[in-house]
Amino acid sequence: MTLRLSTFFCCASALLLGALFLMPERTAGQAKPAWTPARTPDGQPDVQGYWVAKDYGMGCLTNPKGEVGCIDPPEGRVGGKRAQPAKAPSRIVDTPDGEVPYQPWARARQQELLKNYFEPTSQAHLDPQQLCLPLGAVRQLTWHDVHILQYDGYVVFVHEGGHSNRVIPLDGHPHVGENLKLWMGDSRGHWEGTTLVVDVTNNNSKGRLSRAGDFASDKVHIVERFEFLDANNLKYGARFDDPSVYTRPWTFGFELKKDVFGSYGVDQLTYEHWEEACYEGMRDVDRSLRTQSTKQGSDKP
């Protein structure tokens, strides 16, 4: 018995259509999720817990485990010349030369701040992080760990370091007025599968982006993608768009894991963030500037 051609095409099309219909739903910019998350009461993927950068360091953007600004400090590197600095992947993930695409004036400013990091002579030379100030939405994720909590209609980040926090509403209501510049910016988020996409505007950009004086302006527009690869691994990228400072947009990216700063494998269900009241404990040495008598080379003990 021969199969009629029309029947064949009919059945084949039906099978093909059926297969397409059963394929997992795709939304723009999202790959098929590799894991099936538990859900919060309002249906978000449940990613609550303590998260910390996988390759931890505050050195410089191109090598977080290096020295500040990826240059040797004036007195020499800790451990001496024979010790090799550790290396971690660059956090500048999509520019041709691996550097922040500064306009020339901005590069000059960044270099000026870096030059004065070790011997600061004016207030502006002190990194805001050293003064316990909020670091801005992106850089704050690189310091110590972050406690991610989820409530109906919200994702909330509470950072132990300097007790900064970020509230990310998910209902899509508008940002606050553009003249309100905030230390951690103003966030609005939504889920695309297991990726949290956050639009961050209203940045006052006073927190700088590194100890080496990297910076954005208060006109910067940041779009973050928190791609939760599974329950314990997160790939993070923040797209910086600021035509007043950069020649093109660029992405600040790194990976995080479920863990806490300085420890490994704590029980996520019983660990607690404890108070870190940073500003109250600062002492003069934390904000002192160099004067003539205290500059490097002085004999004073």
């Binding site: 360091g57 050195g59 500040v68 004036p74 800790v78 001496g80 992080q129 404890w274």
Partner: protein
Amino acid sequence: MKTLLIAFVASAGLILVTAPAYAHHAFAAEYDVNKPIVLTGKLTKVEWVNPHGWVYVTATDKEGKTVNWAIEFGSPNAMLRKGLRKTDFPAGLELVVKGYLAKDGSATINGTSVKLPDGRNLLVGGSGTGAPDPE
């Protein structure tokens, strides 16, 4: 010299944070790696504060002058989580302090170890800034 330095760190059993820049500031911004110091003195108080705690020690220098030294250590939360409390550090304890001098000329040290007479190191969390142990 440099090889000995590394071996000393390994054998002393001190618990130091390994990466250079964990603290809220980089070591080199405030302290001088070329100015190591060792001193013996008496504990006057411990300040359990963030961003880093302080141990205050009075010591007498060669000229007989009493100096009140402030020694910076890491976040007190590391010590709290290990079960240590301020009552474990009564005033009057005799201590041997090792660290690096502050660049601003004050009597301030970035502490790498603060040892009791029995050899126990109070700084269980390390100074947090990655300063090495001096020879």
